[in-house]
């Protein structure tokens, strides 16, 4: 998994001329990218400017499939990255599993349903999860509940969010009694509390991979960016926002 590390050197030459990279990143990464990481990177490499577009990973996948001129893609799950990779749209060697996020069960702050574990999910009248077909967080939720043998019952009372924000808002406003999101999302909203973390082994790890899009014409700069994201400096920022670094 650290293949590409070998070939690349942190000191690889910056481009002579100014270049602008376009990063497509999962929506959950927007704040740490925009507020900290990109400014840091741009300061380090004044010749490289970074533009970023944020959306749900699935949508970004579609956009890349349709030829959007993205240089670097950072997804919130392996599924999208793998799908692109299978279509040979990614530079295979560039893909790095960078971060891990935790899947958590959340409830509204003053919930009186007494839900404290994934197993107790059926106490909820309505459950909010991402749409497993398109939202990574939903896929993980489905996986957990399937492992617990509860998925059929849960899905019957579930509202399927088209993105994590929706799920989060549903719970924070009490529309749903419980739901599944990432710990980073949970941290961003004061009106929800984490009721439980996903039990060990109940779910495959939530991996945030990053990689270079094959059609990119700025592979060198892209490499520099990925190297930067892998640096301790960057990883500590990610950790500040609740991610776990995978290095």
């Amino acid at each position: 998994e650290t293949d590409e590390n070998k070939g690349s050197s942190v000191n690889e030459a910056e481009p002579a001329a100014n270049e602008t990279l376009l990063v497509a990143a999962a929506a959950s990464l927007k704040i740490c990218f925009e507020d900290e990481l990109i400014p840091m990177f741009e300061e380090k490499y004044p010749n490289i400017k970074v533009d970023a577009t944020y959306d749900s990973s699935g949508k970004l996948q579609t956009q890349i499939e349709e030829g959007a001129d993205v240089d670097v893609f950072m997804s919130a799950a392996m599924k999208q990255m793998n799908a692109l990779d299978e279509q040979e749209l990614m530079v295979k060697e560039s893909i790095v599993k960078l971060l891990e996020n935790k899947v958590v069960l959340i409830v509204p702050k003053d919930s009186d349903k007494g839900i404290t574990a994934f197993e107790e999910i059926l106490k909820a009248e309505t459950v909010a999860v991402g749409d497993p077909d398109s939202v990574p967080a939903g896929q993980y939720a489905k996986e957990i509940f399937e492992n617990l043998g509860l998925w059929d019952d849960v899905s019957a009372k579930s509202s399927l969010g088209t993105n994590v924000t929706e799920v989060l808002n549903w719970i924070s406003e009490g529309s749903a009694d419980a739901g599944v999101v990432y710990s980073t999302d949970a941290a961003s909203n004061k009106n929800v509390v984490i009721a439980a973390e996903a039990p060990e082994k109940s779910v495959s790890p939530v991996i945030y991979p990053v990689g270079i899009v094959k059609s990119s014409t700025k592979k060198d700069s892209s490499k520099l960016l990925i190297e930067f994201l892998k640096s301790n400096e960057a990883l500590s920022v990610f950790e500040k926002y609740g991610f776990t670094s995978l290095k």
Binding site: T162, G174, S175
Partner: protein, 228 residues
């Protein structure tokens, strides 16, 4: 293909166009009747507002009003046992809110185009303002009002962002056609999406045709030729 989104959408769109239609007309009538041009402009701005906000954000604001933890939502729940969020009612609410400006604005334009002399004629004939409105102004404004209706219906049928936010996306309950389409598209299941798209287009096509037909028929007095 699952047919429940279609049924839900049909019910939602029907009820919401009914509400929007009359609400929009009344709002238009009210604004036109206002004496002060300034107040008119302000109210107009307020009533058109729902249109400039992304539906999701609009849905979010609706959630802040109707959410069970918010004062208004709480009152509804505690005193009337009405829970808006995640209910079918919410799909109607969302559709009404997003389509209202279309109906309001179109019918306002249509009413403003009506010859004032006719209104005056009605008054001197002792017709009540209400009667004048329904018997004189409305028929003359029909094309514009119908346009508003068409737009509002289509918009209500296609509503997605605000609906998802306040009504959720619960199969057999609040999953409307647009939500179903979105899910399929997002999941990359294009065939499934096309099926739903076809259904939504067929519905809208059917309803638009009906509306067109009735508008053309209802305006026969404007066509000089009577059938021979």
């Amino acid at each position: 293909m699952d047919w429940s989104p279609m049924l839900i959408s049909l019910r939602t769109a029907s009820l919401s166009i009914l509400i929007t239609f009359f609400l929009g007309i009344f709002a238009a009538r009210f604004v036109i009747g206002m004496k002060s041009d300034k107040a008119k402009i302000v109210i107009d701005g307020l009533l058109t507002m729902p249109l400039v906000l992304p539906p999701t954000v609009l849905g979010f604001f609706l959630l802040l009003i109707f959410g069970v933890k918010r004062p208004f939502g709480k009152i509804l729940l505690d005193f009337l046992s009405i829970k808006i969020v995640f209910s079918w009612t919410a799909t109607v609410l969302a559709a009404v809110v997003v389509s209202f400006p279309l109906m309001y604005r179109s019918s306002r334009g249509a009413f403003e185009q009506v010859d004032k002399t006719l209104i005056m004629a009605g008054r001197t004939l002792g017709m009540s303002e209400r009667r004048i409105f329904w018997r004189v102004v409305m028929p003359s404004a029909l094309p514009g009002v119908a346009s508003g209706g068409v737009l509002a219906f289509a918009r209500g049928l296609g509503e997605f962002g605000a609906t998802a936010m306040i009504a959720g996306n619960i199969a057999n309950k609040t999953r409307t056609l647009p939500l179903a389409i979105y899910s399929e598209v997002a999941a990359g299941n294009l065939e499934g999406a096309y099926g739903y798209v076809a259904v939504v287009l067929m519905i809208s096509f059917f309803v638009l045709s009906l509306m067109n037909y009735f508008t053309i028929k209802g305006r026969k007095y404007a066509n000089k030729d009577e059938e021979k």
